[in-house]
Symmetry: C2
Subunit: 205 residues, 2 copies
């Protein structure tokens, strides 16, 4: 198993090598046969370890899922916040935000599916952490919309601001479902096109 | 188990009562614990039947999934084609198509998740049938976009027609992921708002 760059970015280097191998094996297994049908033994075997060795690093399958999900969400939030910090023009902020968010879900579609579709399998405490990260991503999008409206650059009725923000994140998230290595657009091309579509959605086309 | 109207619509009445109960139990089980972790025994038990009685109607768990998926996709295609047939104005066609497609995925979010997320679990033959239905849905959206562009009503560069059509269906499909009974918008309200967003996306805002 080689570790793609977007996974290396998710899992900072200060983690033991064995823990990284387990996270990578868990992503593969969850993506291939689904979270519920995967056993800790499957994951340990794929990582070339014994189940006992797995438990040194993770107490359960759910702990692996939680680590994957928390890191995936934290990484996406950081991406979104960085995009907004790069400009003070709401149009440029939205363009960069959508381009980065979309490209992330295309490139990281395997992890993207897991973190978005297995939320209900998370232990309550981890679910709360992840739910808060998701709220912050959506709130960031809302604030860009509100800034654009306040500046007279966007045209979004206040009553539909949340629906519009959710549509923006939803469009990016669903990329993880359908994107694959045979897709004709690169993650960056798709990000640019989606940015154009979203700018139109907010009335700044 | 009572059968919601959108499920009754999916499974026409000429099916034996036991088969309907099995389909309903399978939808519940797949949605709750995932397709891979569900056994035919789980489904039979939930339907108040023995595994042997299940096999009279369905030869396998995959046969149940295939029936749910084929009917879900065929029903959605019928909805989309009906929306387009109701008007000759591409703007009105797109508005009705998006409103109906979105509302379907909000109301039928449980079935929607199964038919969209478990595609890879389908037997090859059923996958081909479903893939063809999905192509026809996306092609219908593409034809509406092309008609709108030809009439000077939409502004979509030809090179991005397919990406735009995919974004339209993607936005509706992802509603099944996040929509639930606590959502503040009704399926119809959401359908109307998404129709407005999509008309902007195609430059007819």
């Amino acid at each position: 198993m080689t570790e793609p760059q977007h996974l290396a970015d998710l899992w900072p280097g200060d983690r033991p090598e064995a823990a990284r191998r387990l996270l990578l094996a868990a992503v593969e297994a969850f993506a291939t046969r689904g979270y519920h049908a995967t056993t800790t033994r499957d994951i340990a075997t794929a990582a070339g370890m014994s189940p006992a060795a797995l438990y040194i690093h993770y107490t359960s399958k759910a702990a692996l899922l939680a680590e994957i999900s928390r890191n995936g969400h934290a990484g996406t939030l950081a991406l979104v916040e960085a995009a907004v910090a790069e400009s003070s023009d709401p149009r440029e902020q939205m363009r960069r935000l959508v381009a980065a968010f979309t490209a992330w879900h295309a490139r990281g579609h395997t992890v993207g599916r897991i973190v978005n579709y297995e939320l209900r399998a998370l232990p309550a405490e981890d679910f709360e952490v992840v739910a808060e990260l998701r709220r912050r991503i959506e709130d960031t999008v809302m604030r860009v919309i509100e800034a654009g409206v306040a500046a007279g650059l966007f045209d979004v009725p206040p009553a539909t601001t949340r629906t519009t923000a959710r549509a923006v994140t939803s469009l990016g998230i669903d990329v993880a479902r359908w994107y694959n290595e045979r897709s004709t657009e690169t993650p960056e091309q798709l990000g640019d096109r989606y940015a154009t579509l979203v700018l139109r959605m907010v009335g700044a086309g």
